[in-house]
């Protein structure tokens, strides 16, 4: 496939090369040249004027909603990421009560009298659900389940409002399941600076790649408050954190 692409590219460039060669090698007589030279210069002047006008329009046009988000992104990027870091810190340190409610997607309480619970949680390779478990001595067989998720961010901008979190948490015979039927495709376009410019950037790792964006699907935390005698099964240990 790659060889074919290279072949197509070479053929295309060769045709372009020959086309330009043909276009430029059509020489005219001296009298015709005088006429066409004026026309060519006028044409070039017109072309430059149109391009100049495009530049003016670009700078004069009001910024749209998306550009407004750009401004937010640029000014609040650090703040946004520190907010997520704070959310993660509070969750892993067990300071659940202090987590901002905007991260809470679903909460549920139920009574459970058994001594073994099984978790049925679909784990994504790139964004697994971290389960934080707190065992309570006098819980009166009460189980509390809270599902938190940091916002979905593209280039630092929160686009959670464009997705509907259809999360359901249910318990059935000692089995806690999370169903999350959520498949979204987001398409964007971006305008890049020329790759020529990338050679002068300090970070040359992205040189010539043609596109770069950050996509951070929020950290997922499932907080479980369970009776002390209950054991949890069904999930790899690396994703389970017990609070003291």
């Amino acid at each position: 496939m790659m060889v074919l692409n290279v072949f197509i590219m070479i053929m295309f460039l060769s045709m372009l090369f020959l086309g330009i060669f043909y276009l430029l090698s059509k020489r005219k007589s001296a009298s015709k040249k005088r006429v066409t030279s004026k026309r060519a210069i006028s044409l070039f002047g017109g072309y430059t004027a149109v391009l100049f006008l495009a530049m003016c329009v670009y700078y004069v046009l009001p910024q749209d909603e998306t550009a407004g988000r750009d401004a937010d992104f640029n000014s609040n990027e650090e703040e946004m990421y520190s907010e997520i870091d704070e959310f993660e810190r509070l969750a892993f340190e067990g300071e659940i009560d202090q987590i901002d409610e905007k991260f809470l997607i679903k909460a549920q309480n139920f009574r459970y009298e058994g001594d073994r619970m099984e978790l049925n949680i679909p784990q994504l390779e790139n964004n697994p659900v971290n389960v934080i478990i707190k065992k309570i001595e006098d819980s009166a067989d009460q189980v509390e389940v809270r599902y938190y998720k940091a916002p979905l961010r593209v280039n630092g901008v929160d686009i959670s409002d464009q997705i509907a979190e259809e999360v359901d948490i249910y318990e059935e015979e000692g089995r806690i399941a999370i169903s999350q039927e959520m498949h979204y495709d987001f398409s964007f376009h971006q305008f890049n600076e020329s790759f020529v410019l990338s050679q002068f950037n300090d970070d040359s790792s992205n040189r010539g790649s043609g596109y770069s964006f950050s996509f951070r699907n929020g950290t997922q935390i499932l907080y479980l408050s369970i009776p002390e005698n209950v054991e949890i099964d069904g999930l790899e240990e690396e994703f389970i954190y017990y609070l003291d």
């Binding site: 290279v6 090698s25 030279s37 070039f44 495009a54 992104f73 979905l152 997705i163 398409s187």
Partner: protein
């Protein structure tokens, strides 16, 4: 005596240069066609990529003037080759001329059209941007919507000009060599353009070109390119000076 002789050479070069600016203006027409073609292709064929975590997929199409830049590079390459052809060279004999003045005026002409191409290429990024915003059926990615800051545009304009001068010098040398050995007409574009593209894409090897494209300092790149162009232009002047008057 020496200064008088230099003055005369300067006058001749200047007259030839002015003549060529107007006489070879067809090159400007083809520049417009090539750049518009590049803008058109840039609108159709953009780069891009996607990222997914299983639930959510984010796809981004990218647009830039890179294709217009490549088209313009080919244009300046062909233009500089053509300046060395008999048809163009014989026009110089309508003036009191020498090979040196002819070459110098050609070099000035190439630098001028390179500058013109640089200006239109830089400005074309705005036209392309507006067209993309007009026709793209997806929203603009946050933080990804600008042809560049004024500083970045100036820097890229400077780089465009440098690369145009380098390629015009290569083309001028290629054209000159092709006048000496006709077989080189077919070989040179392959060696100078097609082969490096093939090597860079298929093998990730950037022979010789990395000397320029890996340079991260604009000023050092400028020195490298001006020095290289001077050697290439100087080489062709020396090569032709040893030939008969009108071949």
């Amino acid at each position: 005596m020496m200064s008088l002789s230099e003055m005369k050479l300067g006058e001749i070069v200047w007259k030839q240069y002015i003549y060529k600016l107007f006489s070879y203006s067809d090159a400007l027409k083809s520049l417009i066609i090539i750049q518009l073609l590049g803008i058109g292709f840039s609108l159709l064929a953009s780069g891009g990529g996607s990222s997914s975590d299983g639930y959510i997929t984010v796809s981004v199409d990218t647009y830039s003037v890179d294709l217009v830049f490549i088209f313009t590079l080919i244009w300046i390459f062909v233009t500089s080759i053509l300046l060395t052809t008999k048809s163009y060279r014989f026009e110089d004999f309508t003036f009191v001329t020498s090979r040196l003045s002819s070459h110098l005026s050609n070099i000035l002409y190439l630098i001028t059209v390179s500058a013109a191409a640089m200006i239109t290429l830089t400005l074309s990024s705005f036209l392309l941007y507006l067209l993309v915003r007009l026709f793209a059926n997806t929203p603009l990615l946050y933080g990804g919507g600008s042809p560049g800051s004024p500083g970045a545009l100036l820097l890229s304009a400077g780089a465009f000009l440098l690369y145009f001068i380098l390629v015009s010098a290569l083309g001028y040398l290629a054209g000159g060599l092709a006048q000496i050995h006709k077989s080189l007409i077919a070989v040179l574009p392959v060696v100078l353009i097609v082969l490096p593209i093939y090597l860079s894409i298929s093998l990730g090897v950037y022979p010789l070109y990395s000397f320029y494209i890996a340079e991260s300092s604009f000023w050092i790149l400028g020195i490298k390119i001006i020095f290289t162009a001077a050697i290439l232009f100087g080489g062709i002047i020396l090569l032709f000076n040893n030939r008969e008057v009108r071949a």
